[in-house]
Symmetry: C2
Subunit: 272 residues, 2 copies
């Protein structure tokens, strides 16, 4: 039975050969002409998950090589190792014979994880989502681009972040808030890498917005999310000579950390 | 001319075929029987750097598949993309036909980076190295293992960290201090991934020490280090069901950030 949800329709893959899968890059998850990196990664993960024996991504790294087009995309999967607790796989994403993204992923089973737990952090403080204003997906964009991906999520920005959307840049390179799919799709471990790349860049509250292409994105999926909203926080501490990291935390409604993310990106002027 | 330094001798590779390099895993960088993950990664990077046109690693990810032995190791390099500002490469590390480590790396040129700089963080506070006691590389180990890698570095632990070494666990999963090579080897961008894996696990000040095998390590090399000591800080916030992340910052003596690191690891009982 086909999923009624946007991300499942837009990131689905079908078998096209031996360890070869085919998807299509939709234009519904783009920033201007550029497909969101987390979205494109989700297509690759949908191929990998069908080749590895473990159910959850644990650590996923994507290197972005050239901007994917809104067009069919091939995903070649190599299962590198399949062990008892973990499996490791690689994927190449190709369009017109040109590689767009290279992915390395470790999969495991969060329902089987056992061992000690010590947490020395608190969820980022913010009022409950129902007390926060809805972010208008048709509101001003920080860089003049049409941002289709904004219509895919409902975001309730945390107070003191996304100041640029109100014409009042806060000066702090942080963005946070509650997030869920606009169409109500339940969260699971497979879409957490997408979530980790789905809020506006944290750097936009510290300097004039531009285009922030991801060079490399790594997401640690640490637990299966509970139903409901995700509580997200992203921060850039070091913009140096045009390069920046963005560090993310994603927590679920129970107050459990479900993902940690970090990406290396460039801050470029917005494309003309 | 051969380098007189330990890391250069122990992580060197020689050409063994088309995109094939051969090194040898030394026993001088091990924790008990296990070679340090950052050290083994350095062997792969020494192969990759000879195949890509850019001089500095920018983002490096290693997935550890099976523990390397103290023995010769093959490194197969694939240059995935070679562009104007960046090149991307992959490496497979094999012993006895079994893959041990898979590496993905983005290289660039830090001497050519241009763009805005905004830093919203301070170096971790600690007294200058000459005011701090020298960590005894022959002192007690937290897990009863012989830790050869400790003899490769001089470490001046920051006050309030490495309490386990004094029999007074601090309870905070943090470790920091000044670090340099024991043999005086100058720092450069090629050894920063090693440095990011070279301090004792931060978790040892929060719970009984064991063996902390790295599943995945990602290091962003953000600048070329100035001569002298490196100021390091590592922290684990989330040990959940036996899995932990360790986040690292490495700064140089000028007070510039030179690397950010994160690894996903397991906390296991010490091997018998």
């Amino acid at each position: 039975m086909e999923s009624p949800y946007e991300i499942d329709a837009d990131a689905t893959v079908r078998r096209a050969g031996d360890h070869l899968w085919r998807g299509e890059v939709s234009d519904r998850w783009s920033i201007g002409p550029y497909p969101n990196g987390g979205y494109v990664l989700t297509i690759a993960l949908n191929a990998i998950r069908q080749e590895v024996p473990h159910p959850d991504p644990f650590s996923v790294t994507a290197h972005y090589l050239s901007p994917p087009q809104h067009a069919p995309i091939d995903v070649e999967v190599e299962v590198i190792r399949s062990g008892r607790a973990h499996s490791t796989a690689m994927a190449r994403m190709l369009q017109d014979g040109r590689e767009r993204v290279r992915v390395l992923a470790n999969y495991g089973d969060h329902s089987q994880s056992q061992g000690p737990t010590i947490v020395q952090a608190e969820p980022p403080p913010m009022p409950p989502p129902e007390e926060l204003p809805v972010s208008d997906p048709t509101g001003p964009s920080p860089n003049g681009l049409v941002i289709a991906i904004r219509e895919r999520f409902e975001i309730r920005p945390a107070p003191g972040t996304m100041g640029w959307a109100r014409g009042e840049r806060t000066g702090r390179a942080e963005v946070g808030g509650w997030l869920r799919f606009a169409d109500g799709r339940p969260m699971d471990t497979h879409v957490l890498p997408l979530v980790a790349d789905s809020m506006p860049p944290a750097i936009f509250d510290a300097t004039a917005g531009g285009w922030v292409p991801t060079l490399e994105l790594t997401v640690h999926v640490r637990a299966r999310p509970a139903p409901g909203w995700l509580r997200c926080w992203f921060r850039t501490r070091f913009l140096v000579d045009g390069y920046l990291e963005e560090d993310g935390e994603v927590w679920d409604e129970r107050g459990h950390l479900v993902a940690l993310s970090r990406q290396l990106a460039r801050l470029n002027p917005a494309p003309a």
